[in-house]
Amino acid sequence: MALNLPDWATDWKTAILNAERRLSPHLEQAIRTDVFLDAMTVANSLNRLAHRSADAARYSIADALGLPTSQQIAQLQCSFDRLVESQQSEAVGSTDGMRLS
């Protein structure tokens, strides 16, 4: 006796796409709710708190050892880069600007 199965039962692609088609509207609706947005806000706050705590610990260790932190080195590098850029742009001169009205 032949068993008539729906397409999605024999075709993995159809099955997944059908599931996606049915689930997506509900999920997309869910992310528009205050509950979800509040949860994201809390998750973001906790994430920042964890990162800041970890950074503070790293920096205090580096400080105790008299070593520069990665952030200080990056800031120093950035200052040098900005200085070089400003000197280069001064040398080139701003001749390519169409004046504002």
């Binding site: 796409l17 973001n44 920042r48 950035c78 742009s89």
Partner: protein, 387 residues
């Protein structure tokens, strides 16, 4: 009893299936090993201007069709090669084939040095200088086409300059941020402050941008992966999907100060929707844009939903301001069959109409000094209108 014909048919079927599966395995292994990854941004070009991380690339049509050049302005959050994704699937190629010289602004990859770049840096500095370089190169102000945030930069630039382009086209440029959806809501109502998402370089990290876009279509990636696996036997299709997947995950840092301004001015104040945006010590009035204007958006766009894009058409001061709704998503406007069959005919058809209505060989003229825009100028936020 089984006939010879059915045995032969069965053998053919097995052979076809085996061949297809072998191709799938071979294509998959080639891609995984990096032996057959599609080349992107391959159309020959020349860099004609650069400043900081930004540069301006020129693609030459080679056919003196007498048409103005076209300047493409990408969004700040992705790499610019989406305009020239692959041979045969390239916005740039289609414009070149239509006889236009094409220029494309590449914002580069922002780093800590760009964290203090403001919206004014991009509109008044980079965009102004890039258009000036393009104008010097092509002798007339180019037509400008911007996508998403690039469209907003183009619009704000046009509202700030006396040198109006011959035509201005935006693709999926979000204007009414009340309608943008969860991406906008998260940073409104005091939930998340824009400063909270900046990393130690002072920019928004690419991972945060990616997570935000994945959030608004939670199962979007599933569809992409299923399609990829399903088409793995087809080398061409596999390469196309791979190129798009890599691009879609290749977000770049968003300059921090610009992000903060974007959230405060465009999202929280929803100032674009009022037609006046104050930044850089001036008010930019969209009503002062007089170029022919076309606002294109996709009805399946999750990033810039149609309702957020539509108002732009009514805010510009152009006599010819039109809009087209296409059956497309945010990126489909720029790549694939949607770009080839919908966006490109729409853009080229509209440009033909605009250029034909202009007198031949008449360079676009700046607005006369002192000409009053259609709407009354309004002082806002203590910043005076442009002088």
């Amino acid at each position: 009893m089984i006939g010879t014909g059915s045995i032969s048919g069965l053998a053919d079927t097995i052979s076809t299936v085996a061949e297809r599966e072998i191709r799938r395995v071979v294509n998959g292994l080639r891609l995984a090993a990096g032996l057959d990854r599609p080349g992107v941004g391959c159309t020959p070009r020349t860099v004609i201007w650069s400043r900081g991380r930004a540069s301006l690339m020129q693609y030459t049509a080679g056919a003196g069709a007498g048409r103005p050049a076209i300047l493409l302005v990408p969004s700040l959050i992705n790499r610019s090669y989406i305009w020239d994704l692959r041979h045969g699937d390239s916005f740039v190629e289609h414009l070149l084939d239509a006889g236009y010289d094409v220029l494309c602004l590449d914002w580069g990859v922002p780093d800590a040095r760009d964290a203090h770049n403001t919206m004014s840096t991009y509109v008044d500095d980079y965009m102004m200088a890039a258009v000036a370089a393009a104008t010097r190169r092509c002798t007339t102000v180019p037509i400008v086409i911007g996508h998403c945030f690039g469209g907003l930069i183009a619009v704000l630039w046009a509202a700030s300059t006396e040198h109006q382009p011959p035509a201005l086209i935006t693709l999926a440029a979000p204007t009414n941020w009340d309608e943008v959806g969860p991406l906008s809501w998260l940073t409104r109502q005091g939930r998340i402050e824009p400063e909270d998402v900046l990393d130690e370089t002072g920019n928004v990290p690419p991972a945060s941008m990616l997570a935000a876009f994945q959030m608004i279509r939670p199962l979007g990636d599933v569809v992409t992966y299923v399609t990829f696996l399903d088409r793995l036997h087809d080398r061409e299709a596999t390469q196309a999907i791979w190129a798009l997947m890599v691009w879609a995950r290749g977000h770049i840092p968003f300059p921090g100060t610009t992000f903060i301004q974007m959230i405060r001015k465009l999202s929280r104040e929803n100032s674009l929707n009022t037609g006046k945006v104050a930044f850089g010590g001036r008010i930019r009035e969209l009503s002062s844009i007089t170029s022919p204007f076309l606002n294109i958006y996709g009805n399946k766009d999750h990033v810039a939903p149609p309702e957020s894009v539509k108002p732009l058409t009514g805010l510009v001061g152009s006599d010819k301001a039109e809009q087209r709704e296409l059956n497309a998503g945010h990126i489909g406007l720029l790549v694939g069959s949607t770009m080839r069959n919908k966006t490109m005919p729409t853009v080229l058809g509209w440009l033909d109409e605009v250029l034909a209505s202009n007198a031949p060989d008449t360079p676009p003229t700046p607005r006369p000094n002192g000409a009053e825009p259609k709407r009354a100028r309004v002082e806002a936020n203590g910043v005076g209108p442009k002088r």
